[in-house]
């Protein structure tokens, strides 16, 4: 496990761009699996939609090179809203935008500061989607990840991954999977899975 204290106030704009690039790579790599999970309880397009959105995010970050962590996240969030559609676009867009707005225009932030801001971003997602823990949504990966980020990046990755796995026995209460009722039980939630990829990418660039 890396020495987490060394990251305090060292996460700059470049770090956040590397995070989102790593997230785009992960989404690219796992797109087929996300779509497969989505075809079981949704409409079989989660991977494709996120692929389109994150490709647009990396393209716009290359072009505009925002100077602060906050600006990187706000721009990326806006780009996801403009390109993804569905529920994932507004929800992931809100997650990044709100987290970025919380970070303000600080040139660099520490892990604790990021954890706080990400917590606000996740709260905004919960409010927008009207979901809570246990509804079998992306929150089931994000909420434990934010809690664990106070400890370390690696802990956040593990918590998000476990959170995604823990959605398997749950019955969906939000989104399209909710219409399946009990038949949604036994399938891993695609949104929680992609959220775990996003947090996994964060741990990857922090390592």
């Amino acid at each position: 496990m890396p020495d987490v204290t060394s990251y305090d106030a060292e996460l700059d704009a470049l770090f956040f761009r590397r995070w989102l690039t790593a997230a785009a790579d992960a989404v690219d790599r796992e797109a087929g699996r996300l779509t497969e999970l989505d075809s079981a309880i949704g409409d079989a397009d989660h991977g494709v939609n996120l692929q389109r959105g994150f490709a647009a995010v990396t393209a716009v970050l290359e072009k505009e090179e925002p100077a602060t962590p906050g600006a990187v996240l706000v721009l990326a969030g806006r780009q996801l809203i403009s390109t993804v559609g569905g529920a994932s676009g507004p929800l992931y867009g809100t997650l990044l935008r709100r987290t970025g707005k919380e970070l303000g225009d600080e040139p660099a932030v520490g892990r604790q500061r990021l954890a706080e801001a990400l917590g606000a971003g996740v709260a905004a997602v919960a409010q927008l989607g009207g979901a809570k823990a246990g509804d079998k949504t992306m929150l089931d990966a994000l909420l434990p990840a934010v809690a664990a980020l106070a400890e370390s990046f690696g802990a956040a990755r593990d918590a998000a991954g476990q959170g995604a796995l823990d959605t398997v026995p749950l019955q969906a209460r939000k989104g399209r999977a909710s219409y399946l009722g009990e038949r949604s039980i036994g399938h891993q939630d695609p949104g929680a899975t992609s959220s775990a990829l996003l947090i996994g990418a964060l741990a990857e660039v922090a390592a």
Partner: protein, 330 residues
Amino acid sequence: MRMLINVPETVVADALRGMAAAHPELAVDVENQVVMRRDAPVEGKVALVSGGGSGHEPLHGGFVGPGMLAAACPGAIFTSPVPDQMVRAAAAVDSGSGVLFVVKNYTGDVLNFEMAAELAEDEGVQVAKVLVDDDVAVTDSLYTAGRRGTGATLFVEKIAGAAAEEGQPLERVEAIARQVNASSRSFGVALSACTTPAKGSPTFDLPPGELELGIGIHGEPGRERRAMMTSREIADVAVDAVLEDLRPDGPVLVLVNGMGATPLLELYGFNAEVQRVLAERGVPVARTLVGSYVTSLDMAGCSVTLCRLDEELLRLWDAPVETPALRWGR
């Protein structure tokens, strides 16, 4: 995969280019994915704007034209459009009389249209919204995202569109749209799953000899699976499910809708059974529309939508409409 496409990535853009070529009376912005009446904005008239995932054709682009929608925003397959599309459409078709967003109750559509409404209002467009949620198959809406918007979308767009065409003000057009939605209920049945271009195989596994009751329009499986039934038996289940919820005390408007792969021969046969059940239950039918209007790609199956009519709704339903997929009276 056996589909008449080039590559999955260009399916929607290719369709829009073809639609533009077939319908010079429409203004089709392929790049930004907006379909508009060529004569918009129409002075003194409220503009209806709808949209949703592609794969439900002719919904919504096929309902753009005089007497119905001013603009439609197709998203990716089964994925709601993005707010930028709605904002662009609203700004282009607003004559100053305001815009009514017709939104189907799916999380993605609701979120994107909400964001679009805020952004459009920032640009000085007066926006009202109506949420369509007519699907009675979703019974426990406290524990789901709520009833889905399905066949009633066509009723809302046609009837509120006629009110807008008459020059009724935004609050009145919105009230009529809400009344149509509140007066409409639907129930759908799938005989086969559909194939999305991105996945290339059926989105759920429905063995031959079985059917899904209570499906939505996105290829999501229904809530119950049974052994294959006859058209007569399906009509009994579907119409009774709708009537149990709607309880009409007067004439109704009927939509017998195909999901994409069911031929008109079967839909007309099914309509005969629907009319039989309604007659047996003592429900008078004022108007009936049969065809594939709110589809799910190549899904086989059908849905039934009923709407309680009063004199004004009937008059607005009968009013002239001139769109690619719905056209009469002009």
